[in-house]
């Protein structure tokens, strides 16, 4: 018995310590990477009250790019849409109507973010619904990744301090629904 124990101990000694340490380090790094990925994937959308990271929208009309950093002090309505998205069509006219309602006040900015779309189709969509507020592509899906959207349409309302005031997953049913959310952000 003692002899077999000695033999086993000898076998274990054969594996250098640096191999064991590096194997465990690689394993831990791999697990950490997986954990980080899972955390990001399961984080869900930006929560109400959270500071929204700044982003930039390059409009389709070729105008100057819009930086949210420059819009502090105003309420920003960020609407994610796509020309292939049928539910987006349900709220397109309502959003335009709400925009026209707030346009002259200068206190509210509407931004349309075209998610994973082709420019030709997107332009056709904007023309079809006479959308006049700034719209642009979600280049490299950078904006949708900031908000961690799960689909389209989704609308996020950012308050004057750059924090998320409210969000709507799915299409708005009426103009009243939009204005009530925007008004509550204005009154905050």
């Amino acid at each position: 018995m003692e002899n077999s124990d000695v033999a086993e101990q000898n076998d274990q000694k054969k594996l250098p310590r640096w191999v064991i340490i590096s194997a465990f380090t690689i394993l831990l790094l791999f697990l950490a990477l997986m954990g980080w990925g899972l955390r990001n994937a399961q984080q869900g959308p930006v929560q109400v009250g959270q500071k929204v990271p700044p982003f930039e929208l390059v409009p389709f009309d070729g105008g100057e790019s819009i930086k949210t950093e420059d819009l502090l002090g105003k309420v920003i309505v960020v609407n994610f849409w796509a020309s292939w998205c049928k539910p987006c069509e349900q709220e397109a006219s309502e959003l335009e109507e709400a925009w026209l309602f707030y346009k002259d006040s200068g206190e509210v900015v509407f931004l349309g973010v075209d998610y994973v779309d082709t420019e030709t189709e997107a332009r056709g969509y904007l023309e079809k619904f006479n959308i006049s507020y700034p719209n642009g592509p979600d280049l490299r899906t950078a904006i949708s990744q900031i908000f961690r959207i799960s689909g389209v349409p989704e609308t996020y309302i950012i308050d004057r301090n750059g924090k998320l005031a409210s969000r709507k997953i799915g299409p708005f049913i009426s103009v009243g629904e939009i204005t009530s959310m925007v008004d509550s952000a204005l009154n905050q």
Partner: protein, 172 residues
């Protein structure tokens, strides 16, 4: 003789005329085909199968049935007609929608792990298997009786006890 010569020359004229007419008939048809067939669905799908639409996860663009993917394929066609190369089209999609649209992520940043880890794991696996096989081959050597085993008190007692038992059985 003259009549035969005349007949042959007439026949060759008719043949040349026929070939000429056939060429005239085929020429416009070929031109039309060339205009309509470029790019073919196969040519479009050759690029599309290397792209993934972020909306439809894990479905290559060439077989994706959604409207978004159909629009992307139409865009590929548009770019091909405009004379863009495969690399230029793929780069356009990357610029518009990010690296994740590519079936094979570009080898930069954390993406390197995708290319390094599998071969490393494979080589590591081979090393582990090799050492284990070596260990298995060595194990029978460990069973070779030790010289000290003959002096083991416990084994001697066991053998004595077994001998007593055997004798008892023989007597009964």
């Amino acid at each position: 003789m003259n009549q035969i010569k005349k007949f042959v020359s007439n026949k060759s004229y008719i043949l040349i005329l026929l070939i000429f007419v056939c060429m005239l008939l085929l020429a416009p048809v070929n031109n039309v085909n060339a205009q309509n067939d470029f790019p073919t669905d196969d040519q479009i799908n050759e690029i599309a199968r290397e792209l993934y639409c972020p909306v439809c996860e894990n479905i290559p663009l060439d077989v994706c049935p959604t409207q978004a993917c159909a629009q992307w394929r139409a865009l590929i066609k548009e770019k091909m007609v405009a004379g863009w190369s495969k690399a230029e089209i793929k780069q356009y999609f990357v610029d518009q929608y990010g690296d994740r649209v590519l079936a094979q992520p570009p080898a930069r940043g954390l993406n390197w792990l995708v290319y390094i880890l599998p071969p490393l794991a494979f080589v590591g696996g081979i090393v582990v298997v090799y050492f284990n096989l070596k260990k298995v081959k060595k194990e029978p050597e460990k069973l070779v009786p030790n010289k000290n085993i003959e002096n083991d008190k416990y084994l001697q007692e066991m053998e004595e006890a077994l001998n007593v038992l055997n004798k008892k059985e023989d007597l009964s």
